[in-house]
Amino acid sequence: MKGLALFAVAFTGALLLYATGDFPDWGSLDSPANGGELSTHYIKEVRKETEVPNIVTAVLADYRGFDTMFETVVVFVAGIAIIAVLRDFGNGSRGYPPALANNLPEEPDLIVTQTCNLVIPVLQIFALYVLAHGHHSPGGGFQGGVMLGASYILIALANGVEAAMKILSERKILLMAATGILIYSGTGLVCLLLGENFLDYHVLSRILPTDPIMARSHAMLFVETGVAFTVTAVMFSIYANLATRGTLKGGL
């Protein structure tokens, strides 16, 4: 069996190494990434077509909106899978061993709590800034969502998972994660209802008080907000389930 596995690994590796010979040279002008029609179009026309200075955001949320939508779905499914695998509904079979559970400190540490109280509002505002400023600088839904999720994880680290669960309960987590995907695909669906292709944002100018070009820019913010919702909820859910072994009580 080990020999077979070794053979499979070696064979795949050899195949991959063989395939690298077909790669274009570093920085070659003829490589599809540099000279292709598509990338040239992105680089030259993004500003004219979408009014978004950050090409990465425009490609991610507009030109390849489908890809990003299903990436968000992947994040959502990962969150659901983590809950399905780890969540422990009360019979304690997967919970803490009793000795460890009794070992938890009763009171959260004062210094850590105070610092977190200072840092968390700043962190959350900065996360919203990263989310909303993704058009102009590096950032966007995934990054902003991860930072928002991290702020809730910080609450859980400082005050215990239960305190954080009071703010963002499991019900809210699932609702939030699903809402994110609903916002994303809903934006696409509205385009469909207005008579254009799915996720073809420029048609949104009919319901938004803007011209078609700015409508694409604004629609990117909508879908990024959806991404941020899902990522925030799933990040915190993964932490809460992993840290408490699925009981959502006690914690690290």
């Binding site: 400190p105 540490d109 210094i111 850590v112 610092t115 200072l118 840092v119 700043v122």
Partner: protein
């Protein structure tokens, strides 16, 4: 003249930060137990990061008196540089808050976990052992 002065001051700050970083790294390797190691890492790391970031923030202004055709252009340059400097300073404030707190949290976790601090008796024992070893040789 202004450019050279700013460069020297910010360079001195950055080099000073590197010296403290080196101290923190040496302390991390050389100190005898968990608590003293955390002490060196926490203190040295915080001060050196703040010094380096302040040096970088100051360096933003090194080109302030470049050719400006009008007062407005000068203030335009100044605004851009000031914005970057404020952002860098904000990072250093954040590190000033969070780094000592994380050191404290680690210390407490170690204490709760039953880490034994290094005491005078340990030192005596070490010396005795070393003495025996050297005597044996």
């Amino acid at each position: 003249m202004f450019e050279i002065t700013i460069s020297i001051i910010s360079g001195a700050l950055i080099c000073g930060g590197l010296v403290f970083f080196l101290g923190a790294a040496v302390g991390l390797v050389r100190f005898p137990d968990f608590y003293t190691r955390m002490h060196s890492a926490g203190k040295g790391d915080t001060l050196s990061t703040i010094m380096i970031l302040l040096g970088i923030a100051l360096y933003q202004f090194h080109d302030l008196f470049r050719e400006a055709h009008s007062l407005e252009e000068f203030f335009e340059h100044f605004k851009i540089e000031l914005l970057v400097a404020i952002k860098v300073t904000a990072i250093s404030v954040l590190i000033m808050l969070t780094s000592p707190t994380s050191t404290h949290a680690l210390m407490e976790a170690g204490y709760d976990d039953g880490m034994e601090p290094f005491t005078c008796e340990d030192e005596d024992a070490d010396e005795n052992q070393n003495g025996k070893e050297s005597a044996g040789q």
